[in-house]
Structures are given as structure tokens and as C-alpha cells.
Symmetry: C2
Subunit: 141 residues, 2 copies
């Protein structure tokens, strides 16, 4: 089995936050939305069902953990959870905290305008709020 | 606990296919994409994490079953699996079979042009192909 290597575009567009037992947790560098990605560290997976049964359950358990932490940290009106992957083949699951006054509401965020890079204080704020809401066993990346 | 009632807009836009143990399976009435929805029959759920731990796992287990059946039935290039719910609050998870020559590729399908109603033969074809690929315990709705 080859080593896991994060897709180059995800590496470029996102900031690493921490590792769950299965997934790398990334934050999308876009000031408009609190937007996090789970990327299973499993080479060659494109769709969630490419994972074996144990890892498939782990992915959605970790998605649940992340979702609960995002709800606590950002108190959004709605969570958007999506595995699309039409442009980046490596399996990744978007988690976006949505607000009625955000830049795309009520439309989905993909293809909606251009990302706006976060400044350092926003990165620190979002990362801090999320990590504070995640189970204690997770350490910053 | 009140009875489960399918959201009026889902009822209008979709055709019922079958019931999984947790979810109602619907087919979106859009000729452009093989597009199915899982709707947990749990009143009041908006986000997946609103389900209790058993139902949360059931939802993603059923999503995996549906995804595998869609891969068998339609041999897409990619599956898109998404719980958005910005416009219809009742928890529902989209499952879309995507092809490199479809009407929206590589963009997400939401907000991409207008749905095109399926004629009866397309409905029968898609329903038949999907049900043939699902475990035998499921019966047509």
C-alpha cells in the first residue's frame, strides 16, 4: 500500500488543522465560510464506498464529531456536509457552517464567487474555536 | 413523537421508490441525472447529527447501500453525496450519479439550470435498474 499523500490542490487551498484516527482535518482558506474538510488517509479512495467497512464507519463517525464541534464553535443555522470530488479526485468530505446572511445563502457554496483568503487572526480564531470544541485527544497539526 | 410526514417540496419534486429500515428512498424527477434522496423517517431532524447514534449510523449504512447500488446500476464516473438542506429543512441526503458528459460536469448540480421531468419510460428504467441492484429485502414503494 503506498503512503498517503495529500492532493496538491487541497494542499494549496487548505490549512492543516489536526489528524483524526482516520482523516486529516483541513480548513479551507476562505474567509466567507467556516469550512472544513475531512480527508481519509487512505491512498486511492475516491468515493466514500471505496473505503472498507470499518473505515467507512470511521469516516462518518469523524464527520459526526466534526459536525458537532462546528455546531458548538460557530452556532450556524445549517451544516452542509458533502462528498463531491468532481474536480479533486482524492476522497474528501466538505463540512460548511452556513448562516442566513452568508455570501451564498441559500445556495450551495461551490462555484459561488471567489474564495477570499483568511488573515492570520481569522485563521487563529477559527482554528482555536474548533479545536476547543473537539474531543481533547486531538492535538493541533 | 409525531408521525413522519414527507416535506411538501420533496413530495412534489420526487417519486417514492422504496423504504429502507430508516430512510424513505426518493428519485428526483430530473431526466438530466440519476439522482436519489434518502430521507430518514424521523420527525424534526435537520442535520444528520440531529439523529441519535443508532440512526446516524443507519443513515450512512443505508447511504453506502444506495451508493453501491447506484454504482452497479449506472456505472457513473463519480458519486456526489450531500446533505445540504438550506432550502428544504427536513433532513435529506442527495445521491447523484455523475458523468463526464452530464449537464453540469464538473460543477455541482444544484442551481445548475432547470430540472427536466422524466418521461414514464425513463422513470421505469431508472427505478428498475436501481431496485435490481439493491438487496432483495427491499420492495418497491
Amino acid at each position: 500500500m503506498p503512503d498517503f499523500v495529500l492532493d496538491a490542490r487541497l494542499q494549496q487551498d487548505c490549512l492543516p488543522i489536526t489528524d483524526f484516527p482516520l482523516c486529516r482535518l483541513l480548513m479551507m482558506n476562505d474567509a466567507r465560510f467556516p469550512w472544513f474538510l475531512l480527508v481519509p488517509r487512505v491512498p486511492g479512495a475516491h468515493d466514500a464506498i471505496d473505503l472498507d467497512a470499518d473505515d467507512y464507519r470511521r469516516l462518518w463517525d469523524e464527520s459526526g464529531e466534526l459536525s458537532r464541534a462546528m455546531r458548538t464553535a460557530f452556532t450556524p443555522h445549517k451544516l452542509n456536509v458533502a462528498a463531491l470530488g468532481n474536480q479533486v479526485a482524492q476522497l474528501h468530505v466538505h463540512h460548511v457552517a452556513r448562516f442566513r446572511d452568508d455570501a451564498a445563502w441559500p445556495r450551495p457554496i461551490w462555484g459561488e464567487g471567489a474564495p477570499e483568503a483568511c488573515d492570520e487572526s481569522l485563521v487563529a480564531h477559527r482554528r482555536g474555536e474548533l479545536l476547543a470544541a473537539l474531543p481533547g485527544r486531538l492535538r493541533p497539526h
